[in-house]
C-alpha cells in the first residue's frame, strides 16, 4: 500500500514536468485552422512537442504552434508560424507590408476567413509566447496523421519575404 502511494507520489510531478517541458496532448477547437484541423467542425486532439521551443529555442516557418494569447494569459491558440523576426509580411486585408521586429513572429490560421491572428488582431507576436509545436493529430483515429507543412505553398503565393528588415 505504502509503495503504491510512493509510486503515485513520484509519477505526478514527473508527469507534470513531462507535459510542461517535453510533450503533451491538447484539444483543438474551432475552424481557424481548417482544413488542417477540424475540417468538418468539432474538435481534435493533437500531439504537441515542447523541446524545440522550450529547450532549443528553434522556431521555423511553417510550424503549427500552440501559443498563449497575447490578449488573455489563460487562453491558448493554435496557429501556423508564417514569418519570423526580420521578415516582411504582406497584410492581405490592408495591403501593407509589416516588418517583424526582433524576438517576434507572425502567426496565421490556415482558414483566413475564420481566424483571429497576426493579420487582424495581434500583429507580430512574441516568440516567448510559443509553447509547443504540433507534430501529429492523434484523435479521432480516422484523422491520425502528420500535420501538413505549407511552407512551400506560401512562398509561391508571394505573401512573405525572408529577413530583410531590422
Amino acid at each position: 500500500m505504502w509503495s503504491l502511494l510512493k509510486r503515485v507520489a513520484w509519477s505526478v510531478p514527473v508527469a507534470i514536468a513531462v507535459t510542461d517541458r517535453i510533450a503533451t496532448v491538447v484539444r483543438v477547437d474551432g475552424a481557424s485552422m481548417s482544413p488542417t484541423f477540424n475540417p468538418l467542425g468539432g474538435s481534435e486532439w493533437v500531439l504537441v512537442e515542447k523541446l524545440s521551443y522550450k529547450w532549443l529555442h528553434q522556431y521555423s516557418r511553417g510550424d503549427v504552434a500552440v501559443l498563449w494569447s497575447p490578449d488573455d494569459p489563460r487562453q491558448q491558440l493554435v496557429k501556423r508560424v508564417t514569418g519570423l523576426e526580420g521578415d516582411v509580411v504582406w497584410d492581405s486585408y490592408q495591403h501593407n507590408a509589416t516588418c517583424i521586429p526582433q524576438g517576434r513572429c507572425w502567426i496565421e490560421g490556415d482558414n483566413p476567413l475564420a481566424s483571429g491572428d497576426s493579420r487582424n488582431i495581434y500583429g507580430p507576436v512574441h516568440l516567448g509566447l510559443l509553447e509547443g509545436r504540433v507534430i501529429r493529430i492523434v484523435w479521432p483515429l480516422t484523422r491520425w496523421g502528420e500535420v501538413e507543412d505549407l511552407r512551400s505553398q506560401r512562398c509561391l503565393m508571394g505573401s512573405w519575404q525572408p529577413g530583410t528588415c531590422k
Partner: protein, 162 residues
C-alpha cells in the same frame, strides 16, 4: 530497484523535492524557486552583483500581478533569456513616455488588455517597456518575493520614482 533507492546507494540527494517543487511551479500552485539576478537595471532594489531571490510562480493564491510587483519575465527580444523588472502600469492604464533622442515628442501609450508595462528601478540603465513596448502577461513567469543572499530583504511593492 527504485530511483530513490539507487540515489541512496550512490549517496546522491533524492531528486524528488526539486521535481515536486518544479511541478508545483508548472501548475502555478504557490511554490517557490530561487534565482540569481545580475545587472544594474534594478538598482537600488538589487545591486546586480548576483543576488539570490525567491520567485513565486504567478499564482492566483497571492492575487493577480499588480502595479509595483517585481517580476521575472521572458526577454521580449530574446526568448531564451529572462529579465527582472517592476510593473509600473497594468492593462487599461496610460503611460507617459518622455522625449528621447529617437522620439522628440511626449508620447502617451495605453497598455492593452492582457499586457503590463515593465520598468527597471534604475531608469538610466534599464532596457524595459520603454524599448520593448507593453509586454503580454503570458511572458511574465514569476513574482519576486524576497532576496535571500547576501542579505535577507523583503521586496517591497513601493514604486520608486512615482
Amino acid at each position: 530497484m527504485s530511483l530513490e533507492q539507487r540515489c541512496q546507494r550512490m549517496r546522491l540527494p533524492s531528486p524528488f523535492p526539486p521535481l515536486f517543487s518544479y511541478a508545483c511551479d508548472a501548475l502555478d500552485i504557490s511554490c517557490c524557486c530561487t534565482l540569481q539576478v545580475s545587472g544594474p537595471s534594478m538598482f537600488p532594489t538589487f545591486s546586480g552583483q548576483n543576488e539570490f531571490v525567491v520567485v513565486q510562480a504567478v499564482s492566483p493564491l497571492l492575487g493577480p500581478i499588480t502595479k509595483g510587483d517585481v517580476v521575472i519575465c521572458v526577454r521580449p527580444v530574446d526568448p531564451s533569456e529572462h529579465i527582472v523588472k517592476r510593473v509600473s502600469a497594468i492593462a487599461g492604464e496610460e503611460v507617459l513616455l518622455f522625449p528621447t533622442k529617437d522620439n522628440p515628442d511626449l508620447q502617451k501609450v495605453k497598455v492593452p488588455k492582457g499586457h503590463v508595462w515593465l520598468q527597471g528601478d534604475n531608469l538610466l540603465h534599464s532596457r524595459d517597456s520603454r524599448e520593448y513596448g507593453p509586454i503580454p502577461l503570458a511572458l511574465v513567469k514569476g513574482r519576486v518575493l524576497y532576496q535571500v543572499w547576501p542579505t535577507w530583504k523583503i521586496i517591497s511593492h513601493e514604486e520608486l520614482g512615482g
